[in-house]
Assembly symmetry: D2
Homo-oligomer: 365 residues x 4
């Protein structure tokens, strides 16, 4: 029911895939941050359709417009409304979906929940909804860099059975952006391109894994119970379209280690602060950041909308078949990278602000 | 910062592991539900320490007391405060932890966040905090059974490298409760007992996986964006102590399938409603339940507190060693089962109530 | 910090008085409600500047555009984004305010809070912010009429020392809209016109009182503690610009009655349901509606921005004088009427939805 | 439905008047604040029954117990659960109310909303619910004094037709506590005592007005839209039992002034900061504190429960009469003073913390 998230850095997204516009109202961004559309557009460009032959060929410039909340290039502390108008909607391509439910898409469940559905696209279930999150994430990125030097970076680490080899501690944005797959391992990236193109030719689709790191996160962000940092990161990731799995640090692999193997021994850091010898914890212990790199893995299923013929039912319950037309991603992974980063950035911005309202009394002696 | 969760079925937990009491205030439970302590205690008994030789021997009856919100055996629609007083706290066993941070526990991060810590136990990071969630979950269980026939069941499906074979569609509570491991595969269960006892003897600990199903969930629960059902379930699971991974339906395995393999074809159900031929979606599509069984897997790391000697640092930054005394779980999995169920129940109760406030206008013709 | 209100019928407004646009994202409106711009515009027209010679002459058509959340003339259950672009902003008229704080306006406190301010108008403190609330209120009005027959009506009952005589039980919209003052007592209305015009000529301004009723409200809306219906109505009213006082039912006059005089005796209604002989309670008892007409009075101060010269200070702390130019309301009361109604409507819609999620179990026998 | 309030300084109260206990879970209080029961009890003692012959003679010590959230006399930053067990409940005195609705009390509306009611007392509508708010308010008082030197003081300024003369700028706690009426004007106080005792003798009750000031509030607390400081103060006050009206600053009197009379001219303060020559604004402009004393007036109706015979109906709709037995306040005003202070303190604590998360970037040059 609610399209909002966050407590202090709070975003409310709106817009259907084929409605008039999509966007976000971002409330709670601190005042006086330097901000213009030029800060937002690069992340939207990484997310937009048509940026390479690997993704949907829908032609959307996704040009963002800031409607409120800034003045003379700085944030006012008031809600920042950002909007992208839909241009290249072709509802005709969706006519077949008006009465036939795409398997594993949200057509049927949307109808079951609401009793009405904008069948001219995926509605709120479309990845176009994430435009608002990515726009807010770009603001979070700028804020976190300025106040805490935090850097968030994601990349494609697996497509179908192709796994990349990446050094998570040193990989940078340039390497990620060097290929259209956003996989910084050039050999794996090339294999991924071939696999994705083959899938498209076959009227099929592929899934995979995005890995994300957050570096230079200060200690003390998060909370011990429902708002554990990993809980909120998991919610942000599992609220992205097509996600099926989430791991922090050692993840499911950690379930096969013993305590002696898994525990991250503390050592004295160069500045006297505790550091850990290993990082199976993934930068978070008991819901709170410990100063090590936060490391996540997110599993995406293969895209549901494919051009092969599939069995399904129509709104009257008749068993029918369906083959999608329209312009769809044979593999969502390359475009998921900025969505993942945005989700992580928005959560961290919220927790960084919450900590400013927590650590307000003088230290104990 | 916030120890609350839920919008309509809302719980606020309180209490440190070694403070005076732990508990929960549950607000938003509908009025007129038959409810007494006898409805709550069974789930707490499944969660409590000392119930078998596999878990911590701390002796806590965990007897729940309802302080408010009921009258003559029925809910009033007002907040239900439920409290369990701590009895067998032995802070002396924690004296070593006052100045030395347990590796991979929350000692250090709690201190980093708050600048103060109740070192006489795990504070809010202790699994004792989950008493409040389990108590609320027992209320949710009763509510959901009455209004919608929903059944939630979890079990231990893996400990370390031992994997159980379980038919998720038919397994029942009796089979789960038949062994102290809460693994309904008797062969695997026996191997798990041996492995856990060996780990304890070695001063070590083990992790594993809990699988959870929710059956007979009506279609239409959930939401398309931030409040996707799988996002809120992920948050509930990843906010439990020691969790490192979450999967819905096909999970990470689904990333290695193609769209043609992964898509759940619709077929006409016996009542004319759409059903799916497979359930890789795990009962949720686009954040909304589709009427199939909801299926989750949650990965737990090995317990951090072990009796072997480990390297760590003290509050002054000196490198020291630490070997835990006290009564700790060599494997948290058996006790995690009711915690997982409670988390799922609380989320489903919230979404079921939300749907009552959504589907209020007459159907379109 | 937060520009959002409501739990289930939730609105987030955005926009500065002289920024690009103002608007609202309304989340939680039930699906399938018939809704187009034509349902929204009439309330905006009652609120807009330039509608009569009694109010500011800023020329804004305030034409609303629905960007999302509807399809083929019905709500989708998804966020409804509604936007009004600012047209006739004349920031030059505000140049004097860039460095000089208008007395009793929000210029100084905005600067104190945020350290930055869009001085080209009143920013978020401008009555233009209420466009979003009024747009959402129009949706609430349609919903409440359809599901419960609720009718909300407000009027100007006092301007300066001129008090109207109005029968609150029978007065209708036509009588309210019959004069530009929105005072349904024609004699008082004429005196108010004269007083307002005199104030304008003198470079001065006037305040007054708006009375509001909500009729046919079902019993049982509201809550007993923080969310008492009168508490949320008070917040909605006191969050409107220029409000200084709020009364429910007998109000401050009730403080001079005794219990025997003030108590509303119950009598059997014609349908067997309890009714009250008097309505000093104003339709709400213990925070919950009792089926009688809800009656509110809201006090508005005289407009702060006046054209007479006043003493003030500038941003450097120098004592200076200031006389406003620009187009300002000499009396905000006539335009406040739709704002008051919208605030009441939005609160009632939220509580009506909440009650649908409360009254879900079968009645006790 | 929700018994919670606040965003960062968040309280959730629980408990019926004649249930097992009443209390509060306070979440979000910053860590390291010195706090023991001795900081809470004095405000509860000012609120408790039986403290003078002017109020109900129910004998409750209202001894508070802190169950969690503190360690060695300091807050941990975790939820502070505070509980008071009910001792002197005499449900027999309420037997007449089981089937007959007290006029102007919440008996009927509670039944209309929930379909069930604890008739052994006022349930959640009882003033006993405010114990939790007052306990939280005592924590807020300590926090605000320490971080910002804020002082909140309330007193009885009117009972029935008796109005006190009080200099709001200088009156102190000692003068308020000098008489059992909590009216710091000795002459009026004596008249109030006589009037209250006469009302009690007559089986009647009286209402009145509480005035409250908040001194030394820093500039910049509050927000421009829904969370205006006066809006949240109004909600806190109108959520107290028996309140019918709320005024900030000039209140309804201000509606009879002109802009020239009402505007608070700015002058240069002794420290160079802007101050105002008058304070018709009541310390808040545009929802945000301006550094002047915040001034509120809250109107309370006469107590509904009186011993005179009154007309009412029973649960079957029959017209009957009712005369209360039991121990009731003939005038709630003296005990309302600490409730008012607590409501104001809790709102200010929340806004002070919010401001710490707002003002985080360096000032503009």
């Amino acid at each position: 029911m609610s399209s909002s998230t966050g407590r202090l850095f709070r975003l409310s997204t709106f817009g259907e895939s084929h409605g008039g516009a999509v966007g976000v109202v971002l409330d709670g961004c601190p005042p006086r941050l330097a901000l213009t559309e030029a800060d937002i557009q690069p992340d939207l460009d990484r997310r937009r359709p048509g940026q390479s032959r690997l993704v949907t060929q829908r032609d959307e410039a996704d040009q963002v417009q800031i409607l409120s909340g800034t003045f003379e290039g700085r944030t006012l502390g008031t809600p920042i409304a950002m909007v992208v108008h839909n241009k290249d909607a072709r509802p005709g391509a969706y006519a077949d979906f008006a009465d036939r439910f795409r398997p594993s898409h949200a057509d049927y469940t949307t109808e079951a929940k609401y009793g009405i559905r904008n069948w001219q696209g995926g509605g709120r279930a479309s990845a176009r909804e994430t435009i608002g999150r990515v726009a807010a994430g770009a603001v979070a990125r700028k804020l976190l860099a300025e106040v805490a030097g935090i850097e968030v970076l994601a990349w494609v680490s697996q497509v179908h059975n192709i796994e990349a080899t990446v050094d998570a501690e040193v990989v940078g944005l340039d390497a990620v952006e060097a290929t259209p797959t956003r996989c910084p391992d050039p050999v794996a990236a090339e294999a991924m391109v071939s696999a994705i193109e083959a899938a498209r030719s076959n009227g099929d689709s592929l899934g995979g894994v995005v890995t994300c790191v957050a570096r230079s996160v200060p200690t003390g962000l998060g909370a011990p119970v429902f708002d554990k940092l990993e809980a909120e990161l998991a919610a942000a990731m599992m609220s992205l379209p097509a996600t099926k799995g989430f791991e922090i640090g050692s993840g499911f692999g950690g379930t096969r280690m013993t305590g002696l193997e898994h525990n991250d021994a503390f050592v004295a850091g160069s500045d006297g602060q505790p550091r850990t010898r290993t990082n199976h914890s993934g930068g978070i212990q008991g819901g709170i950041s410990n100063g090590e790199t936060i490391t996540l893995r997110i599993g995406f299923k293969p895209t549901a909308t494919i051009t092969s013929e599939q069995d399904t039912v129509d709104r009257d319950g008749n068993e029918v078949t369906l083959a999608a037309r329209g312009r769809h991603d044979p593999c969502v992974l390359p475009r998921a990278v900025p969505m993942v980063e945005a989700g992580v950035l928005n959560v961290l911005a919220d927790h960084w602000l919450l900590q400013q309202a927590t650590d307000v009394l003088k230290p104990l002696e």
